[in-house]
Symmetry: C2
Subunit: 271 residues, 2 copies
């Protein structure tokens, strides 16, 4: 069975999409066609979207689900005339919150993903630049500045995690690959020792690592299962000997890895 789901906003649409996707994920048996339409900020665009919703209702023989965070009341009024099942995200919660907080909502568009709070925004962008500049052990002289240093075998997920931590939390994360040369004495590489309290380890199942490496360098020694097994075994030994907290990333998304690191390290979001 197919249903269409719209995510509508007069801002970026990220909030409507985020909540909408989370809710739809609970209905695994249904095949949803997902359509995000952000920046619905004038009456023409509102009428256009009403037509699209009505058309989808006809084609599907079922009214679409409409998740919206539209703030402007004249736009809301038009969109609510569509033949959809309306999930009014802000409308549902803002009124009770106003009561509880004894304060009027400002009903302004696009607050949460704007640069209104300039300092926090700059911290996030600086954190992205920090992650890029300090990727892959490229430089170690800025480790003093780092909130976190992710270590692990090549292709265990360090770089995407650092970038996500930067964008989502404004956390400055460097990363350092533990390579074969570092595996001789079962200790943390020298460059990391002065910063041991910031070090967090990633590990991954050797089979998964071999698959990932094979995409990068097919049939290389680097991607062989024996090499991956050797590296992972030695690296986990270092983590345990040096009491470095670590996480096996095999079954986790970059969002899950990042949030688990935040919990485990007690780092505060700079956002």
């Amino acid at each position: 069975m197919k249903r269409t789901a719209f995510f509508l906003s007069d801002g970026t649409g990220l909030t409507a999409e985020g909540l909408g996707h989370a809710l739809l994920a609970q209905f695994e048996k249904i095949d949803f066609e997902r359509i995000t339409v952000p920046y619905i900020d004038d009456e023409n665009k509102a009428h256009e979207i009403v037509e699209r919703i009505n058309l989808a209702a006809e084609n599907d023989d079922a009214r679409p689900l409409v998740f919206d965070t539209i703030v402007k009341s004249d736009i809301r009024r038009i969109v609510s005339t569509a033949n959809g099942f309306m999930v009014d995200i802000f409308g549902t919660f803002l009124n009770p919150l106003e009561q509880e907080l004894q304060s009027a909502s400002s009903y302004t568009v696009g607050k949460s993903h704007s640069i209104v709070n300039g300092d926090n925004y700059e911290r996030r962008i600086n954190a992205v630049n920090f992650a890029l500049d300090n990727d892959d052990g490229a430089r170690i002289r800025h480790y003093d500045e780092a909130d976190l240093i992710l270590v692990g075998a090549s292709r265990s997920g360090k770089t995407p995690t650092c970038l996500y931590l930067a964008l989502q939390y404004g956390v400055k994360a460097a990363n350092y690959p533990i390579t074969e040369e570092d595996l001789t004495d079962q200790q943390l590489p020298k460059a990391l020792r002065p910063h041991k309290q910031k070090v967090f380890g990633l590990t991954i199942d050797p089979e998964r690592l071999a698959t990932i490496r094979n995409e990068r360098k097919p049939n290389s020694r680097y991607a062989s299962i024996s090499q991956c097994m050797h590296e992972i075994e030695e690296i986990e030994l270092i983590y345990r000997r040096e009491r470095v907290p670590y996480l096996n990333t095999t079954a986790y998304s970059v969002e899950e890895i990042s949030t688990r690191i935040m919990v485990s390290t007690g780092l505060k979001r700079n956002r």
Copy 2:
């Protein structure tokens, strides 16, 4: 006035945080202390969080706001005993959605940020790697593979935007800096011409650009206002002459830039 807000989940907490922050952004006069606690997945953790909420209620002389997406019913039951104003995000919407869809929710934890849908997840990670490999005009031989090529002056926001597009939408975005050498003939740089239909331009107010560049290279010619004015003027001239769609990023966050590019280009999310 200060109030505490908790964002609770038995998964990553990203959905609770995303919606909660968007709602709180509508109450600008109130100073919120924000506490995210993900992975509340056993009864001990549930009891612990009840204590934290009750303590905050005492300290603030007002009950905290509690935004939660906890799915497991035994955990929910415990958390709901806390002295908080409960914003039950899933509870509010899942029941009406079940009715509408004539389908039972699976009540499973952490679906939307997991790697359950492995293909889509891999596309996002591949897109991150693509953005890194094709950053800053480093390589142009993979432009065939790109969904999008972002161009603009150095420090106009290309790289963070490419990374966000990759992580959020699984879009493969390369970026190419337009430097002074490219400004001689008021045309798109040669490397870009065969891919013109994928090119999207960023621009930025010269004053803002000078500020950003000064943080990177203080008092350099590169960061001077005259240099920034010259580059931006010439670059915008190229965009107009070549009819390259473009966006002024000065007032926009990376989320806003990215969503506007998605709208303008009609690119589909690979997620």
